[in-house]
């Protein structure tokens, strides 16, 4: 598959009152055309900041301090503002968690939908309107001719998220970043939206980078999965590898923390403690204070990335031991 986005050794820092804080620590990954990469992790693990670094929308006190982001082979992390602006929408676009805060409440859906078309494609308003109606049809909104003149508050949550998707897809980008697109929605609506994103991905051959904390959503939409913890990538692999053969204790812990709807005998096995704050100094592996396998080496030296199989990367000193334990059933990933 053709690589669309390549991120190498990305480090993103924030200037804060307590000095510089690293939110993303040396993360590398890639997204191919027509592929969905899910980035999973709990709040504060740096998954959203990774996506904002890619699209160049970091808050003013944040910056990429090293590493590179390449889109179709060309570096984009150091592009001047105006050029990056031309990339956004046409090459990379993004949908956010809460469509009500991302949409402007005082402008009609149509206005917000036409804006990227007029700016990027330099077409007339009436032509943009026509295209807008087509886009709304594409994302499955009934009566698009009526909806296009309505305001965001007149739409339901699911409808708003569909409008967001329509706006993101307006200029047919190659890469769609979806940051928790369904977290604010009900399950039946969530299912509709996930189906829609999958459908559109296949139709338009887009790369999709989906940020989520929900292992269920990951299993449903991902081709590949990257698990992040406290700013670091801890594991990466195909979706079946991650779910059937997880190697990092954190990934296993995450899987064991999600109650299974289909299994009445499922026993929860929480990960003790909580996510460290970004300013916290942890020597060695970032996960070691919460890891039940941690040994001396984990506390002293940060583990490198081990490539165990084609595409399965794990950053843990003890991945072989953990794997053995999982195999022998001492440690079950209950899935």
């Amino acid at each position: 598959m053709e690589t669309l986005l390549e991120v190498n050794n990305l480090v993103t820092e924030f200037r804060t009152a307590d000095g510089n804080v690293q939110a993303v620590r040396d993360v590398s990954f890639s997204v191919a055309k027509g592929e969905t990469l899910c980035i999973v992790g709990e709040s504060g693990c740096g998954k959203s900041i990774t996506s904002l670094s890619v699209i160049g929308l970091l808050p003013s006190n944040g910056s990429i301090t090293s590493g590179e982001v390449k889109y179709e082979g060309k570096p984009i992390h150091n592009l001047p503002f105006e050029q990056m602006r031309k990339m956004r929408g046409t090459k990379i676009s993004m949908i956010f968690q809460e469509p009500m805060t991302a949409l402007n409440p005082v402008l009609t859906v149509g206005y917000q939908l036409r804006e990227p078309l007029i700016l990027h494609h330099k077409i007339s308003k009436s032509a943009a309107n026509k295209q807008g109606i087509e886009l709304l049809k594409q994302v499955g909104i009934p009566y698009p001719e009526k909806r296009i003149n309505q305001y965001p508050h007149e739409l339901s949550g699911g409808m708003r998220q569909r409008v967001m998707i329509a706006i993101a897809l307006a200029c047919s980008p190659g890469l769609l970043i979806a940051d928790e697109p369904t977290t604010a929605l009900d399950v039946t609506i969530q299912a509709q939206i996930l189906d829609l994103i999958n459908e559109l991905k296949e139709k338009l051959n887009m790369g999709v980078m989906m940020i989520t904390h929900d292992m269920g959503v990951v299993a449903e939409v991902a081709d590949r999965v990257m698990v992040m913890y406290a700013g670091k990538k801890v594991e990466e692999g195909t979706v079946s590898e991650i779910f059937e053969n997880p190697k990092h204790p954190y990934t296993i812990g995450l899987l064991n923390s999600v109650p299974n709807v289909d299994d009445p005998d499922f026993e929860l096995e929480p990960i003790p403690g909580s996510m460290p704050s970004l300013t916290e100094q942890i020597s060695g592996c970032r996960f070691n204070p919460r890891c039940k396998f941690a040994t001396d080496i984990c506390r002293e030296i940060a583990p490198p990335e081990f490539s165990t199989k084609e595409g399965h990367i794990v950053s843990c000193w003890l991945h072989e031991k953990v794997e053995e334990e999982v195999k022998h059933g001492h440690l079950t990933a209950q899935i």
């Binding site: 709990e42 339901s156 039946t188 299912a191 904390h213 923390s257 109650p259 299974n260």
Partner: protein
Amino acid sequence: MVTLPPKSDQKILLELNGVKKYFPIKGGILKRVQGHVKAVEDVSLQLYEGESLGVVGESGCGKSTLGRAILGLEELTEGKVRYKNEEIQDLKRKEKLKFVKEMQMIFQDPFASLNPRQRIGHALEEVFTMHTNMSAKEKRKSVIDLLDEVGLKEEHFEKYPHEFSGGQRQRIGIARAIALNPSFIICDEAVSALDVSVQAQVLKLLKSLQEKYKLSYLFISHDLGVVRYFCDRVLVMYLGNTVELGTVQGLFANPIHPYTQALLSAIPRPTVQKNLKRIRLQGDLPNPANPPSGCPFHTRCPIAQDMCKVDKPAWQEIEPGHFAACHFAGTKI
């Protein structure tokens, strides 16, 4: 799997009889009542001692209002709430105090209910100031015991709410709720705002407290996975109406109502199964101010017939202990 009827030796703790809660919609210059949002429509159920009853449904289905109505935080439009065989819906403020100690609530976002400028220890002490006449020393000791009970430390006594993580704040919410040895706790989306690893910790804590103090929970949640893990019985609500009630085993293995079937089918499973056939509901939840006629679900129901648009299906016991409201109960979609 066979649906087991609730054990007959279980004592009824709480009983709801035709509980309704309508919110008036006021409009026009004179602010006349123009209609009602029927948040809870005719709910009857029993909660047994020591059980966890899950209430699930999508946003706007009335599950939170139901919880608030039971506690008397919302005045009922109609219906009766009996707690330990006493009607409590019309009690005066003073008479209610006795029940306040026994019935508590844990909210979704405990940060919103904590005073940001008050130390946690002092906030928790207030519970004892209100309801007991302990001395300052006794209060302090009780609070420290409470903190220990929910997995916090003595040193947290002097801290402010912003110094705690989400999971710890929820533990504080739990500490406040169990302070007066209640027998019934309503958890309103108590773990929804937490990260999964922390959510699992809090669920474990709630379970261990239940065993220790023989608590009954009304567990309001939109997460069916959590409900399956945590509860004994489940009530499914849709647009203010109860659509199905059954034991966890019975309802999850054999959902009778088409809405429950669709809801269960829509949950993303944390397992990789390709080519799984899913039931997808079309459309959105109707506006509760203007609910559909007949069966409230007919607008989205894949098996709706003409009679569903006119006749509201009755709430009936389909199998022992397994209730549903559907004309075609049991039809698989």
